[in-house]
Every structure is written in C-alpha cells, then in structure tokens.
Symmetry: C2
DNA sequence: AGTTCCGCTAACGTAAACGTCAACGAACGT
DNA sequence: ACGTTCGTTGACGTTTACGTTAGCGGAACT
C-alpha cells in the first residue's frame, strides 16, 4: 500500500513529473473495486483524464476519491458529496456553501451523538444484566425473572 | 406522545390489566409507518397477538420495537437484530451469544471511532482553510493556491 | 343505516450502490 | 506470434427497507 514504490505501473508518465494512477492502483490503495470507481465517475464525482479509452487519475482525482470515501463513512450519500464538490468547484470558500456544509456536518454530528448514547445505553443494560446474573448465581437461583430481551 | 393518556384506543383490554397497543399507537409513538412495523413482523422480529385479523401489541412487543430502532440507529441490519433476538430467546444470558454480540458491538464502536476521526479531520481542514483565507485577505491577495477541494 | 376510519393482505415499485457477466481491444511479457 | 492481464463499455441483477396503490372487512361515530 505504499504508493511511492509500486510495480512499474503508470508513475511519471508524459512530460515533467505528473504523478498519475491507473484505476487498479487506486482500487488497491483504497480497497474498493474498479467498478465502484467507475460508478463514482458515472455519478459525476470524478472526471479522470483519458489516454485513448483508458482512465488516467491525477493526484487531484486521488484526493477526491479519499474525500468520497470519507463522506461515505460519515453517512453522506454520493449525491450529497457531489453537491458539495460542485459547490466548492464553482466558488471555493463562499459563505453560503460553507453554512450549507456546516448544516450537513452538524446533522451528522447529532447522529453520531445519538449513536454514542445508544451504545452507552446498551452497555448500561449489559452491565445491569451481568450484575443480575451474578446475583442470581450467588443465590443459586436458576433464573432471575427473564426481562424481555436485551441485545441490540 | 404520552402513552398513559391516549384517546381511548386499546388500553386495558380483556381480563386483568394487560396494557396493549394498536399498530398505529406504536407507529405514532415511534414516528414510523404501520407499513414498517408490519415489515418487521414479516422479517420475524415481532410476533404480536391477534384479535381476529388485527394485531395486538404487548409491552414486550413495544420494547422489541424500541430495540429494533436502536439497532437501526447503530447500523445493524434487521437480520442482525433478528439473530440477536433469536439467540437471546433460545437461551438468555449464554456466553457464546454474549461474545458474538460483543463482537458486533465492538465493530460498531470501531466504526464510530473512525467517524469521529473523520469529523475531526474535516474540522482540522476547515480550520486550516479559514486561517489561510484570513491570511490571504489580510495580504489582499485574491486567492491562495486553491487546493483540490475541501468538503466532505 | 350510512359513512368514515382503521386495519388487513397481496403485490408491485423504488432508490442507492454497487456486483456480475459479456464481449471486446490494447498492451505486456516471453 | 501469442496467451495473459488490464481496462472499457454496456446492461442486467441484487440487496435492504420500506412506499404505494388496490381491494376488502370490521368498527366506530352520527
């Protein structure tokens, strides 16, 4: 996974030293399929150069890809991420977009906080169940009362 | 949203005081559609009693529903939640299941941590972008260098 | 009695994000 | 020269979690 070494794929092509990647270079690096990468292109998230029919990815494309994946991990849909890209491309650093973006981010943060709270609640219940189990074992009682079902 | 008052739906039916709910009671309380609730039943997650063809939900069913929703918020699929229910129903408090459950929970925790890290990274970049913007404004320079695209 | 809800089943539709062939061309190693 | 590998464009298939009619039967209000 070290993009400095690499077999001898498409590094330093053409004139100066424009670092480029093939589709499978990126697929391996990010551990996704080439199909996924082409799909992101279909959805307008990346637009790699072409050498004939083959796709040539630049460092910029590579950054975009990492941003797409980060967006996915945060629960953004591909369309949401695309909109953010579009906004930024058409006027980087504008305030209206910034606030739109902050809204999305805030919503995600709220989701994460709720998830954390859910996990905390589960852990609490597990803790209570354990204590209950220990107590019933200590008292040599076969079963406590059997609640409804912990889990999830 | 107070389930103690309620119009005069299906509270205290039958013999003693077995609190029950109609499907729309629960739909309103949890803010989901009745279709969703029936779907959970199709998938084997709940099995409400019937009075004729109509579904009668007990407090146990209501707890299950809340667990299903919590599972969803944590990213568990309905099938995963169902498996957890099945495991617990067939032998509550067994250790093998507990470890299976803890595995799932651990995976979710890892996901959450990664998401938190992603958000931290984004906030860092936003902070850096702001500093850069302020600096370029202070120097009356039109644009910095224009990176690749922050967002997502 | 009539009409309006509520609920039920059955079945088809949907959206997102790819997976999975198929059929083909170009490039690369031997 | 040739087989293998890599890449390309369709195009259809898949999964999850419901949404959306459609058509019908009781139940409840007036």
């Amino acid at each position: 996974m070290n993009q400095e070494i690499a077999g001898r794929a498409g590094r330093v092509r053409e004139s100066a030293n424009a670092t480029t990647y093939t589709i499978s270079d990126l697929a391996k690096e990010f551990d996704i399929t080439t199909r996924a990468i082409r799909y992101y292109e279909d959805q307008g998230l990346i637009s790699p150069a072409r050498r004939g029919s083959r796709r040539i990815y630049s460092r910029r494309d590579r950054v975009r890809l990492s941003l797409i994946l980060r967006g996915k991990r945060l629960g953004f849909s591909l369309q949401e991420t695309r909109e953010l890209f579009d906004l930024y491309d058409n006027a980087p650093g504008e305030q209206a977009q910034m606030s739109h973006f902050m809204e999305l981010l805030g919503a995600r943060r709220a989701m994460l906080e709720r998830q954390m709270e859910d996990i905390r609640a589960i852990l609490d219940e597990i803790g209570a169940a354990e204590k209950e189990a220990l107590r019933s074992i200590a008292a040599r009682a076969p079963h406590p009362k059997a609640a409804t079902s912990p889990s999830a």
